[in-house]
Amino acid sequence: MTTKNKKELIVSAIENGTVIDHIPVNAVLKVIKILGIDAHQDEVLIGMNLESKKYGRKGIIKVRNKYFEKSDLNKIALAAPHATLIVIKDYEVAEKIAVQIPNTIEKIVKCINPNCITNNEEMDTKFSVIEKEPLKIQCHYCEKTMTNIRFTE
């Protein structure tokens, strides 16, 4: 086993499921909440403050027997813009996806403006991304720009 493999096994391997890697340490709990991992019935392995060449310290989450939808990927990108999603099938990496902040965000974020129609009518929200780093989004409806992201329940 190479040194690299040993490092990967600090958090033990899963047979099938998803590994979310390169999460900023302060966003690990946010990612768990956003993706509803806290309600997942199967095994979940969480690593925090792991060494990372790129980011210094990082977080990692391994979710057994769970694969995520594309809309979930967008959610991760908003909390952890450099995260990598690794799909594991039979202990092998089946797919590696670097999450990206989309140009538009639909449904998953709440507008911070209490007087925005989206907070007063039963409807979906929609935002355009003005700047990706640091993240700045604009409500499609009330046109308010915001840097503080709040996710819909």
Binding site: N113, N115, E122
Partner: protein, 305 residues
């Protein structure tokens, strides 16, 4: 020439510079000949979820001059919304009864949403603190009429630059015309950085002042707005700055002869009444221009002109 038939007007950024110009040219035609029964087979829904005398009457006057039938309401208490009906359902129903909807709503973003729901075009007559694009169009028309051009002008904006939506829209629109902006306000009510961003993106210049006197001589247009006492957390602060944004006869000394004063109205005391008699006062004519601009918009959106 762009075809505006079927288009909505929700935000001032929805239209290009060429499209504004097209509307302003058409407004000049209506000013020369306001009574044209071009919309006599059309029904315009004028729906005002919050009270507005000036804007509503201006739209309804414009519709009447064009021969259109106007339906709608000006008191939300009398509508099914007061019984809990969603905006979605109200708009769906009204778009079945009319050819064009003119809507004012107290919630920001309501106009954009209503336009998505509606089967007929919609003109935003103000959505909360967000946009009031027809006011901006009539401001542009008034500037064009008084200065003979829109390009390369010195525009001075005075008063509440932080919360005034007409100021924000006018800055956005004038960024298309190589304007130089002079921003006069108390420190607490400075133009927000999100609006200054438009000026910076357009690579234009702006200067900030706290006293109107410093900007008068250079101005082609002075656009006045009201400084409201309730915007200040400390009443003493209001007392200190309230006179720095008042335009009176003495302040006008040294202004250019061609300079014109605009105000979206209602005025309280920020322009003293002795200014009304000067050749520089243009605010009442400006309000009248709103009718021609709204005629132009309705005719263009309904594909009649």
């Amino acid at each position: 020439m762009a075809n505006l038939k079927g288009r909505n007007l929700i935000s001032i950024t929805d239209y290009t510079k060429q499209e504004y110009m097209q509307i302003l040219e058409l407004a000049a035609e209506f000013e020369a000949n306001p009574r044209q029964e071009l919309l006599k087979d059309k029904v315009i829904a004028s729906i005002f979820f919050e009270p507005s005398t000036r804007t509503r009457l201006s739209f309804e006057s414009a519709a009447s001059l064009l021969g259109a039938k106007v339906i709608g309401f000006s008191n939300p208490a009398a509508t099914s919304q007061s019984k809990g009906e969603s905006l979605h359902d109200t708009i769906k129903m009204l778009s079945a009864y009319s050819d064009l909807i003119v809507m004012r709503h107290n919630k920001e973003g309501a106009a954009r949403y209503a336009a998505e729901v509606s089967d007929v075009p919609l003109i935003n007559a103000g959505d909360g603190a967000n946009q009031h694009p027809t006011q901006c169009m009539l401001d542009l028309y008034s500037i064009l009429k008084t200065q003979g051009k829109l390009d390369n002008l010195h525009i001075t904006l005075v008063g509440d630059l932080k919360y005034g939506r007409t100021v924000h829209s006018l800055v956005q629109a004038m960024c298309n015309f190589n304007a130089t902006f002079h921003l006069v306000s108390p420190v607490e009510l400075k133009l927000p950085s999100s609006v200054k961003m438009h000026i910076k993106r357009a690579k234009l210049d702006y200067y900030q002042y706290t006293n109107i006197k410093d900007a008068v001589a250079v101005s082609d247009i002075i656009y006045m707005t009201r400084v409201q006492r309730e915007r200040f957390s400390d009443p003493l602060e209001y007392e200190k700055v309230k006179d720095s944004c008042i335009l009176d006869l003495a302040t006008l000394e040294g202004c250019q002869e061609s300079m014109r004063i605009l105000h979206p109205l209602p005025r309280v005391n920020e322009i003293t009444t002795d200014v009304d008699k000067t050749q520089n006062a243009y605010y009442f004519q400006q309000a009248k221009n709103g009718v021609y601009v709204r005629q132009a918009l309705m005719a263009a959106i309904l594909g009649i002109k």
